[in-house]
Amino acid sequence: MSAAIIELDDLSVRFGRRPILNHLRGTFNGRSIGLLGPNGAGKTTLVHTLLGFHAPCAGTARILGYDVGKEQRAIRGLVGYMPENDAFIAGMSAVRLVRLMAEISGLPPREALERAHEALFYVGLGEARYRRVETYSLGMKQMVKLAQAIVHGPRLLFLDEPTNGLDPPHRRRMLDLIREIKNGGGVHIMLSSHLLRDVEEVCDEVLILREGEIATYCDLEAERQANRKFIEVETLGDNAVFAEEIGRLGCEYALLDPHKLKLVLPAGVEIRHLYRIAADRAVQIRRLDYRRDSLQDIFLRAMEVGRGGL
C-alpha cells in the first residue's frame, strides 16, 4: 500500500491564542505541490508544522504515512528542507556545511563528503565550494541551501520561497534545478511561494491558503486541460447591446467592465459572427484574444470566493 505524500487531518496550529492554521484537511499525492497564499496565510507555518517545528493544537498530519506528532525522526530522515531566510553556520565553507548536514542525516563521513561535492557541483557552486558561506552572494546562499536540502537524497523536498531575492538568471537556474530534481530523482516537492509564476512553472498541483484555511486545491494540469478556451473582447460602443446579441447566438458571456467581455463560443459559432454583430450594432472590436484561466485567475478566484476545502 503506498501512503499519501502529505495528509492533513483536521490540522490546526495556534501561536498562543492566535490561530494560524484552522482545521486543514486533504490528501496530496502530486509530484510537485505548490503552496500559495498571500503573506500571513500560513504557508511557512504549514511547512514548519509538517517538519515538526510547531506542534498542532488539534488534528494531525502525516507525511509519507508517518505522523508529524509522533514520528518526527522518521519524517526528518525522509525530507529535505530549504528555509526561506538565510540559514548557514558562520565560519564554515560550503563543502563543510553540506557535509556536516549529510552526516547528521546519517551518511557515513566518506559518502557525506562525496555527496557534498556532488551536490555543490550540481547547484553550480563547484568552483566556490571552499569559500565561507557568509562571503557568498544572496543567489549563492540560496544555492547552498538547496544543496544541503538534497545532499542526503530526500524523498520529499520542502522549498520555502526558493527564488527569494534572486536575479532573473539565478531564478531561471533555480527553477530549472527544481524541475530537474522533480523529474529525474524520484523526489516529491512542496514549493511554498507567493510568486505565481514560479509555482506555475514548476508545480503540477496547487494548494492555496487564505487566512490559515484551504481556499483551493487543484491539479494544475487537469485544470489547464479542463479549462475551456474563452475569448476576451475589448469593444468601443454599446457593449450591453452587443453582449445581448451574442447571447442570442448561444454564447456564454460575462461583462468584465463597460468595454470588456469574456465569452465562450458554442459549436457552430465562429469569430466572423461576432464581427457581423459588431458591424450591425455599430460596435468596434478593438481587441480579441483567445485565453485560458491562468494560475493568477485561479488564485484571484480563490481569494475572492468563500472558504472551501477539498
Partner: protein, 290 residues
C-alpha cells in the same frame, strides 16, 4: 558518481546509527578549535602541568635526589606532604582554572555560530532532536576538558598510588574521588553556563563577556557583599567558590568558604537548572512570536 556528471541522484547507501550521529559535532569542532596555534599551545601547557606534577611526585622516590639531600623516601614524602590536600591545591584548583580558560575560548563559539544565521533550522529539519543537539555541543567541551582535567588527574593519582602503595591509597582515596567527581561537576557547570549564555546573547564576544560576568564579577560582588553585610552567605552567587566548597568536601579538606556544602550544591544545581531552562527556550529552529 563522478562530480562532472552533475545530475541529481538519490542516496541509497548505508546509514550510520541514529544515536551516534551527534558525535559529528565534536569532530567538526575539534578541527576548528585546533586551527589556532595559541590554543593548541595552551592545551599542551595544560597537559604538561600534570606531567611536571608527576615528576615532583617521583622525586622523593629517586635515589639520586635522596642522596643529594641525604634523606630517605619516607622523610621526603613527609616533607612534601603528598596527601589529598596537596592534590586539591596543586592539581584540582589549577586544572579548574585551566578548564575555565579553555571553556572561555571554545564554549561561546559553539552555539552562537548556529544561532546567528538561523542554522538551527538546518539541524532540526534532520533526524536530530534538541537533546541530541545539546549533547553534541556539550560533548565537545566534555571531551576536551576531560582530556585536560580528570583523565591526567587520575593518571597522576594512580602514579602516586603506584609509588606510595595501598597504605597511602587507604588514607587518601578521597583525592581520587574528588579529582573525578569534582572535575565532572566543574565541566558540566562550565558547559551548561557557556552554552546557555551563548544561546541567550547569540554573539560570541558578548557571550564571553557574560562568562566573565558570571564567574569573575560575581566573585567580586560576593566578596563586597560579604564584607558589607558581615556574612558569608553572599558567596552563594560566586559559582567557582561554590564548586570549590563542594570539591573540598569531596577531597575531605577544609573549604575556603564558610558556606556549607549543601548550600553550595543548591547554588550549583539552581544554576544548572536555570541554564537548562534557558537552553530549552532558546534552542529552537524558529522563535515563535506569540
Amino acid at each position: 558518481m563522478a562530480v562532472y556528471e552533475r545530475t541529481y541522484r538519490r542516496y541509497e547507501g548505508p546509514l550510520t546509527p541514529e544515536r551516534r550521529r551527534f558525535l559529528a559535532f565534536p569532530r567538526y569542532a575539534f578541527d576548528e578549535v585546533f586551527r589556532s596555534k595559541l590554543f593548541l599551545a595552551f592545551c599542551v601547557v595544560c597537559l604538561l602541568y600534570p606531567l611536571v606534577l608527576a615528576c615532583i611526585l617521583y622525586l622523593p622516590h629517586n635515589l639520586g635526589f635522596l642522596k643529594l639531600f641525604n634523606a630517605d623516601a619516607e622523610t621526603m614524602s613527609q616533607i612534601f606532604g603528598f596527601d589529598a590536600k596537596f592534590f586539591f591545591e596543586w592539581l584540582m584548583r589549577p586544572q579548574m582554572a585551566m578548564a575555565f580558560v579553555v571553556t572561555f575560548v571554545v564554549g561561546p563559539a559553539l552555539v552562537t555560530a548556529d544561532l546567528r544565521n538561523n542554522g538551527l533550522a538546518l539541524y532540526f529539519s534532520r533526524p536530530l532532536s534538541r537533546t541530541e543537539y545539546v549533547l553534541g555541543k556539550v560533548s565537545i567541551l566534555v571531551l576536551l576538558l576531560s582530556a585536560l582535567t580528570w583523565v591526567p588527574g587520575l593518571i597522576v593519582f594512580g602514579f602516586q598510588v603506584y609509588l606510595e602503595g595501598t597504605a597511602w591509597l587507604r588514607t587518601n582515596w578521597r583525592a581520587g574521588l574528588g579529582l573525578f567527581l569534582g572535575a565532572w561537576l566543574w565541566i558540566l557547570l562550565l558547559c551548561l553556563v557557556s552554552i546557555a549564555l551563548s544561546a541567550y546573547v547569540k554573539w560570541k564576544p558578548v557571550a564571553r563577556l557574560s562568562m566573565i560576568l558570571v564567574f569573575i564579577v560575581t566573585a567580586g560582588l560576593a566578596a563586597v557583599m560579604n564584607l558589607q553585610f558581615r556574612t558569608e552567605w553572599a558567596s552563594v552567587i560566586n559559582l567557582s567558590d561554590m564548586v570549590h566548597v563542594i570539591v573540598a568536601s569531596l577531597f575531605g579538606v577544609p573549604p575556603s568558604s564558610l558556606v556549607p556544602p549543601w548550600a553550595a550544591w543548591m547554588s550549583v544545581l539552581a544554576t544548572c537548572g536555570a541554564c537548562v531552562l534557558l537552553m530549552a527556550r532558546k534552542l529552537r529552529p524558529y522563535e515563535v512570536v506569540r
